[in-house]
């Protein structure tokens, strides 16, 4: 890990890769309110942690090709959408995830002829903006395959979160799984245990996204795995290892 730029990022939104239509992020916000509990005996402010929140706001270009951003964003769905922002397409690099409501789809037409759109996503499921690590960038598996595992360095015991963005498949039923291992030496060998299973994806293979919660022990190695009998599944997967000090473990 080192200092890096914002070049080469991606944004996946509910199983749609909108990266090519996004010009910039106006906001990637992870915030926490504070509650003032200053008493008459204090000589300076005393605050305790309050509600957390999250926001992703991006500026986009107009693209009304079939099944592209206009089709997806103009619908302003009333259900939650799962956004996954990749800081890099390299496995093991940080991602940002947000289960959100898309609250607008606004346009400004400039005198120069430009069309500039803005979309704001606000946390909507009692879960703030989350940081995790990428297990698989937008990847194609011709059949059941394993990605090389990521070494997190140590076992943890506070559970984890898994994120899936399923873009498409050609046939069969795709089983997307997270697996962990305590004895792998290279992210491939060793014994692997199913850590968490995403919902089966079958015909018509509509684009979907899913966030799953996992409890208990997670071993040091974690990988993305596809199983079942299928052809040509395209997906991305990410993972957040929970720690005892996390907001949701401290409640």
């Amino acid at each position: 890990m080192a200092k890096s730029s914002g070049i080469g990022q991606r944004l996946f939104l509910q199983g749609l890769d909108v990266s090519g239509d996004i010009g910039s992020f106006a906001s990637l916000r992870s915030s926490m309110q504070t509650l003032d509990v200053t008493s008459i005996q204090d000589s300076a402010m005393v605050r305790i942690a309050g509600m957390r929140d999250g926001e992703i706001t991006f500026n986009c270009f107009f693209n009304n090709a079939t099944a592209e951003t206009h089709d997806a964003l103009a619908a302003l769905p009333t259900t939650n959408v799962l956004a996954l922002m990749l800081t890099s397409t390299t496995a093991g690099q940080p991602v940002i995830a947000l289960t959100a409501k898309q609250v607008n789809y606004d346009w400004v037409r400039g005198q120069d002829g430009s069309m500039a759109g803005t979309v704001q996503l606000l946390a909507a499921s009692g879960v703030p903006l989350e940081y995790g690590l990428l297990l698989a960038a937008k990847t194609t598996h011709a059949s059941a395959t394993d990605e090389t595992g990521i070494d997190f360095g140590a076992q943890t015991t506070a559970g984890a979160i898994g994120y899936l963005q399923h873009f498409s498949a050609a046939s069969g039923t795709v089983e997307y799984d997270l697996e962990d291992s305590s004895d792998s030496t290279d992210g491939d060998d060793g014994a692997w245990v199913n850590l968490g299973a995403f919902s089966d994806v079958a015909t018509p293979y509509a684009a979907i996204a899913e966030r799953i919660e996992i409890s208990g022990t997670v071993e040091r190695w974690v990988r993305a795995s596809t199983n079942g009998t299928f052809t040509t599944a395209v997906f991305a997967m990410a993972f957040r290892r929970l720690r005892a000090t996390d907001y949701d473990a401290a409640a």
Binding site: D146, D177, E179, A191, W192, V193, N194, G196, A197, S225
Partner: protein
């Protein structure tokens, strides 16, 4: 009269599902081999698999059914 030593037999292990993985999904993997809940486990054993409850001795499974 001393009795002959009882030969040690290798215990049989059955795959369990302590993480509550949905039915029909594999529980264990070694290479391309997959084991599902209820399968007899014939892969490499480790403390993690036993202590984590991912494999259970056949006798204990049978005892539990009595």
């Amino acid at each position: 009269m001393r009795s002959l030593p009882v030969p040690k037999t290798k215990a049989a292990y059955i795959v369990a599902n302590p993480r509550g993985i949905p039915a029909g999904r594999h529980i264990l993997r070694v290479g391309d081999k997959r084991w599902y809940e209820g399968d007899r486990y014939d892969g490499p054993l480790s403390d993690r698999l036993i202590q984590g409850g991912f494999v259970v001795e056949q006798d204990k499974v049978n005892d539990g059914e009595k």
